[in-house]
Symmetry: C2
Subunit: 337 residues, 2 copies
Amino acid sequence: MKNNMNSILLAHGSGGKLQSDLLEKVILKYIKNPIINLLEDSAYLSCFPKGCKSKIAFTTDSYVVNPLFFPGGNIGKLAVCGTVNDLLCIGAKPLYLSLGLIIEEGFDYEMFEKIIIAVALEAKSAGVKIVCGDTKVVEHGKGDGIYVNTAGIGEIKHYFSPQKIEAGDFIIVTGNIGDHGIALLSERQKMKFKTPIISDVANLTGIADILFKTSGIHCMRDPTRGGLGGILKEIALKSNIEIEINENSIPVNPGVNSICEILGIDPLYLANEGKFVIFSKEEKVVSLLRRTKLGKNTAVIGRVIKKKQKGEVILLTKTGGKRIIDIPRGELLPRIC
Amino acid sequence: MKNNMNSILLAHGSGGKLQSDLLEKVILKYIKNPIINLLEDSAYLSCFPKGCKSKIAFTTDSYVVNPLFFPGGNIGKLAVCGTVNDLLCIGAKPLYLSLGLIIEEGFDYEMFEKIIIAVALEAKSAGVKIVCGDTKVVEHGKGDGIYVNTAGIGEIKHYFSPQKIEAGDFIIVTGNIGDHGIALLSERQKMKFKTPIISDVANLTGIADILFKTSGIHCMRDPTRGGLGGILKEIALKSNIEIEINENSIPVNPGVNSICEILGIDPLYLANEGKFVIFSKEEKVVSLLRRTKLGKNTAVIGRVIKKKQKGEVILLTKTGGKRIIDIPRGELLPRIC
């Protein structure tokens, strides 16, 4: 391995500062597409198909989660949910997925079958079809069981974007944060808890159905890698707003909270795989979401306080202080998704 | 590593018999989509978008080629060409690509940059836009430099399919076969030749432009993994035809031929990354293709002799004998693409 300056580090894949650098300094330097902002998770193909009312959205994600099976799911379920949620986030109805598999030689056939079953079940639950695929096998020691890529096509129903955010918008999160991160961490470290922490991995089609029918929704995101803190900072920077969030209002499972306190981890930077952060003009959507199973812990966690700012995110702490939230710089938990 | 029955083998990714088994016995067992034949490389989304004249095609491929840089190209160029050619094959005009990267920790930053440059240049040459992407980094020893996934969206212009093949169709190949396979092999084995063998990796948009304007084209395929022999057998089985090809007519670079003779390799099973096999009612397209740079060695290699057969592919050998061509069973060259 070469030194840091000349080689790719784990943190280049963390969803944090180094990842943005890699994207901006290499990928976007060469790959330029005037019609589309590559920094977004999904692309609006607003000029395609020509002369057609329906417009499509396109997204992709590779999943390298470790371990492959964790409390609440496996890489197959995660791959479908992640890509479905990415499409929902920008206001598209997910329709078709591709499935690219990179399998390590010697990988257990039965585990492979379980992963494919999870893909099939989750696709059915999300109302999407897996329509094309590809399978590659690499030598033992050149992979880690299986890596999964899903690309997704959706039909654009609404236009949600950081650019639409206004001063005064309520910032809403659809439930407890950090469950996925702690579920993965506990599985990796073989930690045992009285009440095990289960990943929140889920497709949010039900939640999105409600949001698509509600007026005043300006922007939605899924706080995966980088967590709630990372995504809020990213949005604040993109839309030049100032955000204030209240630590007391952020829903966190008490079990997750205890583990975070013991290990000195901030739940704000833990990954989620079944949550949306919503910027909404109105608060009424909260009560609608609370009636759903996946959204029962929905809460308003803050407000957009100013527009045309430098993108500051301020956390009002439980102890009455203020803390500036930044994009995570290092690598908290590699291979979380 | 477990025994063969319980675990995935390299040959499960070879494009041969074991790969079809894996697809049929596991993947297609659970993932069923009545509207689409998942056995095809690309999906026709014939019912999407609704009420719209333009219909879209969707495809995906992961690239795990080893080595990453080889005579004639690198994994970045390959990833764009492969997905573009897959779309062209079914009669779609490639428009948008996604780019999913799985990078091994410690991978050389400069090599990464070269790969991204190759992606950008090839996308430009093929007239497609990279519109969304994802980057993951895995620990050193859990990958092999970089794996690349590209999914692609195209607009359907023509409907080419094995089902359209008729008795009497000319079987045409657009140039010398086996160049990619031998280029990879020689790079891996550090073999030195007087005239180095260069991979044929290329996007075939120019060739497809001609084919899209020519009447009588029934089916097109790119003979990548599994080679010309593998793809012909696959098509023969799908469309219940009997095929006869003439070994004397199959264009092979003399250098590739010599290496194949020395090593006892059959060029019919070597991978190509810049060739089409065409089933055409008429022969006239050959002279049109021969005028192009990438198609200058285009040749008629055989005919469809019967329909409603069991899918036999017969090779009339140079020595005047007959040989039955089957799908390759084992693994000739792993990680060729």
